[in-house]
Symmetry: C2
Subunit: 237 residues, 2 copies
């Protein structure tokens, strides 16, 4: 099968690397130009920004047999018009950065959706080329997974930024926090997040929490500390 990836951003570049490593006949193409003269392909993977997806798809005219798949965690399948009966979603749940190579794509889960049941096996086979973790999910569940991605990646990274700022102010290198950051991730391979929870909020140590609130100067970061501590105590354990 001939695969064409549209979009040379973080997702497109990484998917291109993953598929070519598995000897899939794959072309990486800009989503910004030459859409009226695309190389022939059996499947087109759209790796473009959510807000550009519908417009890019509308400019792509192919044989009706071509399979069109977007890679967004949030956009519906209906961004593909009726001229594309074979359409679906191919959503890899990972944080891709061009500047950071991924060593092992095979552990990354791919969540897919198909417009027609006839396309399920084709999409499934495509995903299995790069990973052994393939799940068919509905639009709504994919949105929930995208939300999970925000929770386990974007928000922890925000905490790292706040901590980096504190470390900088006391002239301690951010790298001293890395073993703890690594252990935080490693722990939940073995313990449930609930079992892995430690710290002053978990212990109900109000003295320490009050002291930390004094140390934080930004009112919104103080509020974040309060809210996280409240939730750590409130969530069922």
């Amino acid at each position: 099968m001939k695969l064409l990836i549209l979009g040379q951003g973080n997702v497109g570049t990484h998917l291109y690397t993953a598929f070519t490593a598995k000897h899939v006949d794959c072309t990486l193409h800009s989503s910004r130009e030459g859409l009226d003269n695309l190389p022939a392909a059996d499947c087109i993977l759209y790796a473009v920004r959510d807000d550009a997806l519908e417009q890019v798809a509308a400019q792509v005219h192919t044989d009706r047999r071509v399979l069109h798949l977007h890679t967004s965690g949030t956009m519906p399948l209906t961004v593909f018009g009726d001229d594309k009966p074979h359409a679906g979603v191919f959503y890899p749940l990972q944080s891709f950065s061009k500047s950071r190579p991924i060593e092992d794509y095979s552990s990354i889960p791919v969540f897919f959706e198909a417009r027609s049941i006839d396309d399920v096996s084709a999409i499934y086979s495509l995903a299995l080329m790069i990973t052994s973790h393939v799940y068919e999910v509905s639009q709504q569940d994919r949105e929930q997974l995208h939300l999970c991605g925000v929770l386990v990646n974007n928000f922890p990274n925000l905490m790292f930024r706040i901590a980096e700022d504190i470390a900088r102010r006391i002239h301690v290198p951010f790298s001293t926090l890395l073993p703890l950051i690594d252990e935080t991730a490693a722990k939940v391979h073995q313990l449930s997040p609930c079992e892995a929870q430690t710290g002053p909020a978990k212990r109900g140590d109000q003295n320490v929490m009050n002291r930390h609130l004094q140390l934080l100067q930004d009112p919104q970061i103080q509020e974040l500390y309060r809210l996280c501590s409240t939730l750590i105590q409130k969530l069922p354990s």
Copy 2:
């Protein structure tokens, strides 16, 4: 040097493992009984709960030459009375769980404080037995580091708990989130947390953020989502 570790909890157990692996003459002893009849030691490491520390230390009577060190991120050095002229703090910044072995103690930073300048080299040497990352910090800076620990460990783990709950509701195993959790930690070894920040808040994608707020049902978790998103956009990049 003979080392006595008081407290058989997570910290005491792990420090005992780390020091014995380096062939330090080390004894692990309960902090709850037999404090009036402790084995002889050159240095006593107190690995006890913050709220028990002062009381435990008061019950320990030794030769005045013995070095007394506590392991708390928040308690001051003054929990040790005048009968202990050689006193200090030995704070390893890591999240220890008895049920999880640590493979490599040598990357864990130890932050120390000494009552007298005469004890600095002894504490430094002791820490160097198990790690190559040893820093002398003030009480106030140690509290800031403890706060950093809460930010990079306790709060990300809270996010994992919220995500686990969502994944459970849509019948997707939590393990599908682990590659993203691992990559979140791995990324900041190479990129600064600021450079590593991605997601709808970073992109200013209000549609996605509104949709995520709809999906979250708990008002406090919605507030957490709003606050994190605001801070991601507000913090200097």
